[in-house]
């Protein structure tokens, strides 16, 4: 029986996706739930498992094609055989139309040795991306070393465009490889098409700046009280909750306190309406080896600091393994971006539409400040909040940021709701 392989329902907010790389060639045997192809959306790279076991008889959409939800991309014959013996499928596949590039077939390795596997992992390469020179096209260590690593995904640069990632990002396999040394040494240029992810990031950044009236307000926070609290309870907290007491829990709680006091900071613009959200879904920028991702902490107002810290830890681990789901990356009513992890002291973050405000936090550094007429040294964190001036007045924005500052300088306020 012929089974159609279709693109899964992506998500409300994701219109289309790009086929990144087929793991199977026409004529290959596939087993149910085996990954057929990686599909890159604006937000994540999805794996598409085979719906049934059989033989891949037709590939309708090749690598690099754009596809929409529900679109047909391949057909699997559940009754066909992959050929009389294991050695035959390549020969049998030849007459079938639309077979992908022959180099891939050669690179599907019978097996890669431990040294080559380690080298692949360290370069972030897939064995299929390397031309194998060993027996039967096997990828050897020297094959891997001779292949340039794919460029590291560029985190939406905090220093240039504001500390926030405008769209949640994830792994972005890029088709072309840039050799930085060669460019510098030989004064050459390389033209590389933007990946879907990068194109989307660019589009959203520009959209945000052209539709929002962005303004940024700054303040400074004396972090000493939070640091003291943290020092005092770090051990107990960790023992009790099994998670380290970080700073983010405090920042999230302080932000939620401000959003509760000034609901417009938590609102969105929809046409000529202002939509006030009765819930607090906070996007948190989390660093990952593949770039910056912004998973959402839902109902942050109802979570304890321990629960928030746990959630962030969980997101960090998932981000590391590229396992954040679309759901975890979609939505959000307010964002927090921590450029401080990269050492940023000041920045003007860009709003993540349709949200209306974003908090930028930075590196905490000792600074001389004046208290009671005396110059004293305090650990200072400069806060920045960008807001959409169309619906948020300066008064609300500034007082909102002051609310966060006061909560952080006197965390007891969080307990008393004052």
């Amino acid at each position: 029986m012929l089974i159609e392989v279709k693109v899964p329902q992506l998500s409300e907010s994701v219109a289309e996706a790009t086929l990144v790389s087929w793991h199977k060639n026409v004529g290959d045997t596939v087993t149910r739930d085996e990954n057929l192809i990686d599909i890159e959306t604006d937000k994540v790279v999805l794996e598409l498992p085979a719906p049934e076991s059989g033989v891949l008889v037709e590939v309708v959409k090749g690598n690099g094609d754009s596809v929409a939800s529900g679109e047909l991309i391949a057909r699997i014959d559940t009754e066909a055989k992959a050929g009389a013996s294991a050695a035959a499928p390549a020969a049998k596949a030849a007459p079938v139309a639309a077979a992908p590039a022959p180099t891939k077939a050669a690179a599907a390795p019978a097996g890669t040795g431990p040294a080559a596997r380690k080298a692949l992992a360290e370069k972030g390469l897939d064995a299929a991306a390397v031309q194998g020179t060993g027996p039967g096209g096997r990828v050897t260590k020297s094959d891997v070393l001779g292949t340039a690593a794919p460029p590291k995904p560029v985190a939406p640069a905090p220093s240039m465009s504001g500390a926030v990632s405008p769209a949640p990002t994830s792994a972005l396999p890029q088709p072309n490889v840039i050799n930085a040394d060669a460019i510098v040494a030989e004064r050459t240029e390389q033209r590389v098409p933007m990946s879907r992810l990068r194109a989307r990031v660019a589009e959203r950044l520009l959209q945000s700046q052209s539709t929002n009236a962005i303004l940024t307000t700054f303040n400074e926070v004396n972090m000493a009280p939070v640091m003291e609290l943290r020092k005092k309870y770090a051990e107990k907290f960790e023992k009790e909750h099994g998670v380290r007491l970080g700073f983010m829990g405090f920042f999230v709680k302080a932000a939620v306190a401000a959003l509760k006091k000034f609901p417009v900071l938590n609102a969105s613009v929809d046409g000529s309406d202002i939509v006030y959200h009765g819930y607090f879904d906070i996007g948190i920028a989390v660093g990952s080896p593949r770039g910056l991702v912004v998973p959402i902490i839902r109902d942050a107002d109802q979570l304890s600091i321990a629960q928030i810290e746990k959630k962030i830890g969980e997101f960090g681990a998932k981000a590391k393994e590229g396992k954040l789901s679309l759901e975890e990356l979609t939505g959000g009513t307010f964002s927090i971006s921590n450029g401080g992890v990269f050492g940023s002291m000041l920045s003007t973050p860009i709003i993540n539409p349709p949200q209306s405000a974003i908090l930028g936090i930075h590196a905490t550094k000792d600074r001389p400040v004046v208290e009671n007429g005396q110059i004293v040294i305090r650990p200072i964190n400069y806060l920045a909040m960008s807001y959409d001036h169309r619906i948020i007045d300066g008064r609300e924005a500034v007082l909102g940021l002051v609310t966060m500052k006061e909560a952080l300088e006197d965390p007891a306020r969080l307990l008393l709701d004052v």
Partner: protein, 480 residues
């Protein structure tokens, strides 16, 4: 005074721990390894190498060789026309030889530490706390003093201890675990063994060859359940019928009593109430991970339901920069598995990629004949519904095996019916422990059975049996 600080502190100097420490030092980390006085020499000097070197793999193989020579001199010389009359064994000399080997190897690791600049800290290591992104590790020396050191990374490699049973007090004189069983002063006339696992079989056969009457009692109804069924069957036949080990399966122990005339064990086998009387008893019913006294509670280090330290695929625990390797975590309690994990963790700390291929870890049982395997058994493949082809060749069809007068056993290779990829290789026979290496290498490279069939194997060698088994997968053996 500030605590001494290290990049990497390893708790435990068994195979997992000392290897992790050496690799970490090679990668440029300041490294310390903490080892308790569990295996201290008579002068109280710490001995490295853990269970494996002191009371496990190494000493048991030393005794194994002695007992094999004795057995050959007594029984096998005759067929070569060699007469050896009144062959005797002096157990004291045999044990001293074993002790010398242990001393030489444990000293060797000290030398390796020195060469690689690993700091050895004698004492019991435990977690004391965490401050300023550093772990505090307390080292309690035997003289009662405690030093606390700071570590960026901690690798827990505390190993395992023999499991003891309620009502069977191990004194390592009459009733022994692996420790006492390796140091018996004389050949016991009647030796009882509880547990027909790797340790029970190896030690049971050592003393059997030296003349003991050995009875092994096993709770499970199946013999060597982890091995391939064909291998287990062949082993059963060889150990019981040919070598005279008495092995009783499906046994329930009721009581163990020590009297003047020896040890009396009452047990049930099926519906029958039975009694075994013996002079020495070895209890080898598995091992338990060592986590007591580690201070896991002080820092919230998570253990799993079986008392192992919980880790992910990369041997990371629930605590930042705390890792665990070897017997104290999940997976088979094998020295070489711990060593691989030790290397992986050190390299992960250095930011390299690290991976242990748990599907290609060889298992070895040092009985005679030896048993070794890697990958899946036939039973596992059938349960998983994976179609396979099998090739099985007996050592009796091999010229070298005939020449050596040791033709017991066979090699069995299992390969995927579709792709021909090797899924498992099972060896029972002479030198199985060495032969299995070829199969492990092949599997690590994702080889197909035809790869082995097309590789030239020296003649006459035992390795040709693996070659023939690969040919037999495709039903075209040349010598069978």
């Amino acid at each position: 005074m500030a605590n001494k600080q290290f990049d990497v502190v390893v708790i435990g100097a068994g195979p997992g721990g000392y290897v992790a420490a050496i690799r970490a030092a090679q990668l440029g980390f300041s490294t310390a390894c903490i080892e308790s006085e569990s295996y201290a020499d008579p002068k109280g000097e710490v001995r490295l190498g853990g269970t494996c070197l002191n009371v496990g793999c190494i000493p048991s193989k030393a005794l194994l060789r002695s007992s094999e020579l004795y057995d050959e001199a007594s029984h096998a010389f005759v067929m070569h026309g060699i007469t050896a009359e009144s062959v005797k064994i002096d157990v004291g000399t045999m044990i001293r030889r074993k002790d010398n080997i242990v001393t030489q190897l444990t000293q060797g690791i000290k030398g390796l530490f020195k060469k690689n600049k690993v700091t050895l800290l004698p004492g019991r290591g435990s977690f004391a706390g965490r401050e300023n992104e550093l772990w505090q590790v307390a080292v309690a020396a035997r003289d009662g003093s405690t030093e606390t050191i700071d570590a960026k990374h901690v690798i827990v490699a505390t190993g395992s201890s023999p499991r003891h049973l309620d009502g069977i007090p191990v004194d390592n004189e009459s009733i022994c675990d692996n420790v006492g069983a390796l140091s018996l002063g004389a050949v016991p006339k009647r030796l009882g063994v509880i547990g027909a696992g790797v340790i029970g079989l190896e030690l049971g056969s050592v003393w059997k060859r030296l003349g003991s009457e050995v009875t092994i009692l096993e709770a499970l109804p199946d013999f060597l359940a982890a091995a391939d069924p064909a291998v287990a069957k062949e082993a059963w036949k060889t150990f019981t019928a040919k070598q005279g080990l008495k092995i009783n399966l499906g046994v329930r122990i009721n009581s163990v009593k020590q009297g003047k005339k020896g040890i009396r064990i009452d047990y049930d086998m099926g519906d029958a109430a039975m009694t075994l009387e013996c002079d020495k008893l070895i209890v080898s019913v598995g091992r338990v991970p060592n986590t007591a006294g580690l201070g896991a509670d002080n820092v919230g280090l998570k253990l799993d339901g079986r008392g192992c330290i919980e880790v992910n695929d990369h041997c990371q625990t629930n605590l930042e920069n705390v890792w665990a390797v070897g017997d104290v975590i999940r997976g088979p309690m094998l020295a070489h598995k711990g060593m691989e994990e030790g290397v992986m963790v050190a390299e992960l700390i250095a930011g390299q990629a690290g991976h242990v291929n748990y599907d290609a870890i060889p298992w070895v049982i040092y009985t005679h004949p030896e048993i070794a395997w890697v990958g899946k058994t036939e039973a596992q493949l059938k349960n998983a519904g994976i179609e396979f082809r099998a090739g099985q060749i007996p050592f009796a069809a091999n010229g070298r095996a005939l020449g050596q007068g040791d033709t017991t056993g066979f090699v069995k290779m299992l390969a995927c019916a579709k792709t021909d990829r090797i899924l498992g290789v099972h060896v029972i026979g002479a030198n199985a422990s060495e032969l299995i290496a070829e199969a492990v290498t092949a599997m690590e490279f994702g080889a197909v059975s035809e790869d082995i069939a097309r590789i030239c194997h020296a003649h006459p060698t035992l390795s040709e049996v693996i070659h023939e088994a690969a040919l037999a997968v495709d039903k075209r053996p040349l010598h069978f």
